[in-house]
Amino acid sequence: MMIGLRKSRLWEIALLGGALLFALFYLAPFLTIVLTSFKPAAEVIASPPRLLPSHFSIENYLHMASALNIGRSMWNSLVVTFGSTAIAMALGSMAGYAVARSHSPVVRSFFLLALLARVVPPVTLAIPILGMIRWAGLIDTQIGLILVHAALNLPFVIWMSSGFFQDIPADLEEAAIVDGCNRFTAFTRIILPVATPGLAATAIFAAMLSWNEYLFALLLTNVEAKTAPVAVSELLNVYSSEWGAMTAAGTLFTIPVLILAIIIQRRIVEGMAMGAVKG
């Protein structure tokens, strides 16, 4: 009895230690960036590297602020992420619902086509998309990038949300229709609220994709609508590599995602564990 108890306690400690080690392994690069960003500029590329700053300094942040308009590009990133996610979610959830409920082979094949669009490497899409955006006169505008990110995200949103909709019994919307709804109001008033946890999880993934997207942001913007990933990368150029400023920008860049993740973390977990929507 005693031995059994002690053994299980030991086992628990070992498990916890293992989990911590694992988490540290994943967090290490991020922690390095954050710690480095607070080192004095001279220490950033010191060799051998040291883990902790010798003293706390915001030198890197000041330098970054003078080297690039971080406020502007962060704002652009926020607007583009928010706008493209909103569009992708609005259209994608409706399409996902249609896919989840339809038996039509046409809808099914549309769905597969949409997924195929996601499989094509983005680089191959770059030239035609650049052409279209230029033709529309939307180069270097937030709108242009919003539309492109929304389009890139749409297949993913359709695919992921249709899975959540499939888990909701069709009885629910039929009950709503008998209760005086039409197909659309049954969707907005019954199905959407029930699917919220799943859709929140979907929205997080879509937002992160847009927030981190680099290739199209680089191609389609240069001054006005430049997003943070592009701005940060400009610190690295043929003349100099501003490592210190980059760590500072990188740290700042992470903050909004971190806040978002903390706010919606519970919802994501709920979303992952959905299926339990039985009334």
Binding site: E174, A175, A176, I177, V178, D179, N182, G279
Partner: protein
Amino acid sequence: MASIKLANISKSLGRNDILRGIDLDIGSGEFIVFVGPSGCGKSTLLRLIAGLDEITSGELLIDGVLANGMSPSDRRVAMVFQSYALYPHMTVRENMSFSLKNARMDKREIEKRVQEAARSLDLAGHLDRLPKQLSGGQRQRVAIGRAIVREPGLFLFDEPLSNLDAALRVQTRIEIARLHKSLKTTMIYVTHDQVEAMTLADRIVVLNAGRIEQVGSPLDLYNRPANLFVAGFIGSPQMNFISLSTTGPGASREMVLGIRPEHLSISRDEQYLASFAGKIEFIENLGEQVLIYVNIGQDRPLVAKVSPDEDFALGQHVALKMEHGRAHYFDGESGMRLEREAGHG
């Protein structure tokens, strides 16, 4: 209190004919029960009447008005689903008032109706709970409450009691019967359960493979089944069937004799004026009665339902006697009922 008329209704999905040529008149205030084996189209027929599925051909009239293209809410039907289909994100009160809000009813009237329904269904203390905070029986009552508050012309129930345990099922069955008595609204009720069908129905509709086999009062179906299918489907345990061939004045004829287990009596005395004799093969004790399986040389034993006071043992030789006037005769080929005169051969 709607009256319903189904005229030659068919439903096909792709190449599958799910319902064929359904004709049925339902009077205002009637309690109609659909029974039939799994997959025979009961739910489909109910959904056609509700307006959830489209009718492929034929006409549906509600109160004499063609309703084929009407939306479910215009048909003034309320439906109770097998899964209850309560809106999980809404409280009991919101669930019950949802349809009334959709109809833009006055707030005070909504509250009044909800309170009334909640009181009659013993839900008054639970109005602010979510469905997941209720027991199965309470959810079931919310589903019924959601239908009642609308004061519909027609109630549709699709196996509403199948998720409840036996005791609760009996209790809710009685509640539904009482509800029908007090509201006098037309009701259509789908069930697998013979007892529900027999106790609730004014008339039972027996469906099989997308067709109506017979429509009649519970006693009609029990006493005068129109064919072998209905004879075998209504009554538990199943009616015994014995193949006969008679040689009449003309040609010989294949017939099937049907006799219900409760209409067979057993005697150990083989001299007894018996219809059949055989050996007891199996005994099933159900408590209030005992089923005796007697091998009379056919592929299936005859089943007799007797009182537990009678004492029989496996292997015993017994004689079976049919209660007078309780035998049914069916044509061997078509399976249709033959009138009794034809049977006296």
